[in-house]
Point group: C3
Chain length 202, copies 3
């Protein structure tokens, strides 16, 4: 229960940070205030919404649980009210973003398994949860989504974190497994960023 | 009941006008006939389909109620058969389009509230209903969606109309509220178009 | 039963060939290995997933039936491991791709009819099943989707195949009708490719 609460908070922190990132990118693209809000919602809630629309076990949690939209809008408001760029942001953003990626991947995998699906769907929807929002955001701004060929191994890290979460779920250790998954996924993202790792071109 | 019927007709008129607009844009982009039909369906039905896919209270009304697809296809046929550009079109299009935006926003908000959700989801899905189709149409044609930074305050007007509809719903005046919402939303779109209003860049 | 099994196999062969095509296009766009996998899944499974998300009669078959993801990933692996271009590929690809288009259109139409919907939704979702994956793939890579104005009459062939499947379903000949639909759709695609047929610009 307590660990589950921790995971929920990591999930919401992920929404906040990705919403901020979406709004920052939106400002760079010279969108207006509503545009920032839309991009914040897409970046912060898009992956989970796509996952829930596929699982068809009820409306997306982003709609049923008011904290999600609220958090995404707070993220947009932060960008409008404060200059979030600069050294402070450059230091705090990467680890929070990486942790959120791992937490989202774990959350998506577990939700899929709990809904009665197998390993492959769990890996696919875990990864979708983690990278889907950024994917849509990039498409909207007419960029080829970074995860298809970027150098931070985002999708790879999401897949790895999903794999850890799925493995731990089968070992009856879902909650602690989620934390491990989040940390493992985050570690790979940070390592890739630091070492400029990338996958071979296909 | 009679007012509800009026709203349904405004909804369908919105489908028709947005389908025509989609097909006109498709022709400007030199698409073939099938392409016009696809863009007409996307523009006219896309927002409502996305809303219904999220609400998960059954298949999209665009599929279950044959009048919707038919109306969208009529819109495409109109563009293929008649030259819709020119002074006549320039006069009739803006008010109908603006009214449809408001009506769609109200319809989306009410459907969300009736499904048991709260204020924030109602505002979000009301806005999505109103602007979602145009959003997808712009993405398909590789433009940054106009609502993210355009000068007609489309998204702002949709949000405002949703707010009016939600407020009236809580006052037990859903149907008359929808009409007010449609008019208020339309007024803001037309005012913004006329006065070239725009939001500050974020 | 046996014919149904044949159709299922054609469906999966369609997944395989479209996944391969997605990965080939991804390699041409210099995506990394994960990017190829994502494009293979989108191309091979996207149309059916969108159809199932709209029908709302349960999670997409691409998730519930493990053979679908597996087949799409095999397609990506084939592209990574083997050079699929060249004369051999140029000969085998067009007919398989065309057959899959027809088979997908038939499968989508029948699933929609079986779910209790009418003719127009069946035509729309049959076409969506057949061309949806390629549509999303093109959007991701920032091309205007080929089906909107290409010269292989993809969407037209999908619509035609859907029409044949729907007609045969009403004549109580769904399974044999699907085969006819697949062949008719395939024939039009190949004819259009060979003769460079195209629709008039709208």
């Amino acid at each position: 229960m307590t660990l589950l609460t921790i995971l929920q908070w990591i999930d919401l922190i992920g929404v906040l940070f990705n919403a901020i990132l979406g709004a920052v990118i939106g400002r760079a693209a010279k969108l207006d205030i509503i545009g920032l809000g839309v991009l914040a919602i897409m970046s912060g809630l898009g992956g989970g919404m796509m996952r829930d629309m596929m699982l068809q076990i009820g409306p997306p949690i982003a709609i049923t649980d008011g904290r999600y939209i609220t958090t995404a809008l707070i993220g947009a408001a932060v960008v409008v009210l404060i200059r979030v760029e600069g050294r402070w942001w450059d230091r705090i953003y990467p680890p929070m973003d990486a942790l959120a990626l791992g937490a989202w991947a774990a959350a998506g995998s577990l939700k899929t398994l709990e809904a009665g699906f197998g390993v492959l769907p769990a890996l696919m929807l875990g990864t979708l949860t983690a990278v889907g929002g950024g994917f849509v955001r990039d498409m909207v701004l007419r960029r080829i989504p970074g995860i298809l060929g970027g150098n931070t191994l985002y999708a790879t890290a999401a897949l790895l974190a999903s794999g850890v979460a799925v493995g731990c779920w089968y070992l009856d250790a879902a909650v602690i497994g989620s934390l491990i998954a989040a940390v493992v996924g985050a570690a790979l993202v940070l390592l890739a960023r630091w070492r400029r790792l990338s996958l071979p071109v296909g």
